[in-house]
């Protein structure tokens, strides 16, 4: 059952990312991305992280993508833009992709071995996560709140129309 769920979510996720790369329309791109993020939330839930799964759905698939769709509607381009067609760009992209794949596989190969044998039964309950957040990670948590205020003010100041320069 879990296997079926995993492969279903993985295939939908990869498929929607591919669709996003191929599709021209930015609004469709945003919708594909929402599907991909929702599937990612399901994968997080499969990994015993229910709180992170909920946060993923609410913040990523909800808040951030709404922001993207608002900006897509504000910019209002008549025609979308397809993927790059130039030859040398494609060669460069495939080179970069090959290098990245080789690098990541080599790096993670050592990490893959011991993982599969470890037995885990602990579930990441929101209670434990919250306790950790307010004890061990208290200072990062507070700093994050300052960061969010700074980002909020920065975004408003950037987009605000100046009266007359």
């Amino acid at each position: 059952m879990a296997h079926i769920l995993f492969f279903l979510l993985a295939i939908i996720c990869i498929g929607s990312v591919l669709g996003m790369i191929i599709s021209k329309d930015q609004a469709y791109n945003a919708l594909f991305l929402i599907v991909a993020f929702a599937c990612m939330g399901g994968l997080f839930a499969l990994l015993d992280a229910p709180f992170i799964a909920a946060v993923q759905i609410i913040i990523y698939a909800g808040a951030i993508m709404i922001l993207f769709i608002f900006v897509v509607m504000m910019i209002n381009l008549r025609t979308g833009m397809g993927p790059e067609k130039k030859k040398w760009t494609l060669y460069f992209v495939f080179l970069v992709a090959a290098v990245l794949i080789i690098e990541l596989v080599l790096t993670l190969k050592g990490a893959l071995k011991p993982i599969s044998s470890v037995a885990m039964d602990k579930i990441g309950s929101p209670t434990d996560l919250g306790r950790l957040l307010f004890t061990k990670y208290l200072y990062p948590f507070e700093i994050t709140s300052i960061l969010i205020i700074a980002a909020l003010v920065g975004a408003i100041v950037l987009v605000k129309k100046r009266d007359k320069e």
Binding site: A49, Y60, V71, I75, M81, I115
Partner: protein, 100 residues
Amino acid sequence: MIPLSYFLILSIILFVLGAIGFFIKRDLITQFMTVEIMLNAANLAFITFAKSASSLDGQVIVFFIITVAAAEAAVGLAIILLVYRQKKTIKSEDIKLMKG
């Protein structure tokens, strides 16, 4: 029980797809979306390692990453809007000049 290496392989695939998309797509908004995909692939790897170590620290870090990504999306989209207002385009190849 699903082997955890499947999740890592999926995270590699998503990261590489995000990188490919970043180079292939030509408008700023979609390039920004591909960056979000790469961030999400990193999140998936974090959660996988958190589960393999059966500790919650990885999940806390993912929580911080999601928060920072929200802030980053707000500021980045504001900058894209500003660029569009000044140049009337969001094609990344038209924006070569670093002058305002």
